[in-house]
Symmetry: C2
Subunit: 256 residues, 2 copies
């Protein structure tokens, strides 16, 4: 299996750093190929702009998604974007490794998604969700939080981790076709001791050992919707899969 | 009223550009003071990093939120961050103007939140939600989508716009104390004609005319939770306010 880890933490000695190193070791030991994009170390540019393309289709009026589509066809994407796309196409599994920041990915990783998940290669008219460009591949979030589990429980102050991750799991990864695995979550690494952090790293190794065989989140399919993108009768229950808690590595099972 | 618009679109001739210009005109005509941070034009840096602070508290180990807190107290934040914080403190109303990108804000705006909503001034231990640093101020999202309304309805493919905006409205703006107003949404400006776009700009003027008097989204309050951040008995219904559709400018009322 080919694995691509996109790593978004500025401090190598952080828990995120340890998680990426652990993944590289564990996956390598199991005979998998691993590539890492360490966004801070690379100085990755997370800002969408005119420089992402060689010329404009529409005069000098920047219509970003239109230009993405044209640039895919005509091979006119900037080199930094093309290199990341190549790694996505190479990989069977994409792992986004990051500290939750404002209940989402940090800006540098958000900008990576903005610039790399190009209209054309990743999705296009009708080619979304299970018909998306990354169909047949797997993806997962691996993240750390600032807060401890109770805040993130379904009955807690933040209303559940899963609804918070909805825009990433469903709106980004699944949207372009990935089979999305449950997130791996380390709660409050800054608030726990070294032993608890090591226990999390052991959990991470165990998780990675079987990641090829895991069942993805059972998101709805296009044939459950009508031509106006509305749920067909009898499939409304599928809405639950958009909002329900994660199945494994959930708040209750965490090591803290 | 002082209004601070954070504008995140690279193309001035876009609908987002028109919306910000409309807001500046309309609010100015009504005697309000307006400041705009045009993030692309400013070349705003959206990447959290060591350069955001003058020196580290903890040797050379970057613990970002800890450094934010210290830098607030000791006045050691980088000048670009300090300038944005000053505008937030000056403003009675914050407007984030952006095109939805992967069901969130673009990377440049995400990074603005990451770097500007500093631990210390904006929030801290116990000072979150209605106790946050921006309490008494208002904030709202003003955004454009790529897709048309049916996709964003509660019974549609994306499961509703409100759950998608949850990490911004509740997890970011409300978290630091803002009274959050319903988002203003322009659906698919690239797919509609100039008349429909003008109609949206008229709606935007009308909305801004009464924005001072609008009731904010009735999010839950700290006295509805126990010391373990769990909902107190009798308040579980408040969870609905986290997930329900927006009250005004909703999909069904849109101009398209």
């Amino acid at each position: 299996m080919n694995v691509f880890i996109v790593h978004a933490h500025p401090e190598p000695r952080s828990m995120n750093g340890a998680m990426t190193r652990t993944a590289v070791e564990e996956l390598g030991a199991r005979g998998h190929q691993v590539k890492v994009s360490d966004l801070h170390a690379m100085g990755f540019n997370p800002v969408m702009g005119a420089g992402d393309f060689d010329g404009f289709a529409d005069g000098d009026f920047l219509k970003y998604q239109m230009e993405q589509e044209r640039a895919c066809t005509e091979d006119k994407l900037s080199a930094d974007i093309a290199a990341e796309i190549e790694k996505c196409q190479w990989a069977d599994l994409l792992i986004l490794q990051f500290p939750i920041s404002w209940f989402s990915v940090p800006g540098i990783l958000k900008g990576w998604i903005d610039r790399v998940f190009v209209r054309g290669t990743f999705y296009g008219a009708g080619r979304t969700f299970e018909r998306g460009g990354m169909q047949g591949k797997r993806a997962m979030l691996s993240l750390t939080t600032g807060g401890l589990p109770p805040m993130f429980s379904e009955t807690g102050r933040f209303g559940g981790l899963y609804p918070l991750m909805f825009h990433l799991n469903y709106g980004s990864l699944r949207f372009v076709g990935y089979d999305v695995l449950d997130p791996f979550v380390v709660y409050g690494p800054a608030r726990i001791g070294q032993d608890a952090r090591e226990a999390y790293l052991d959990q991470w190794r165990t998780r990675l050992a079987s990641v090829e065989d895991e069942a993805p989140i059972p998101y709805p399919l296009w044939d459950q919707f009508d031509e106006n993108f509305q749920w067909l009768p009898g499939h409304e229950h599928a809405l639950h899969t958009l909002r329900s808690p994660v199945a494994s590595n959930s708040v209750m099972e965490s090591a803290t």
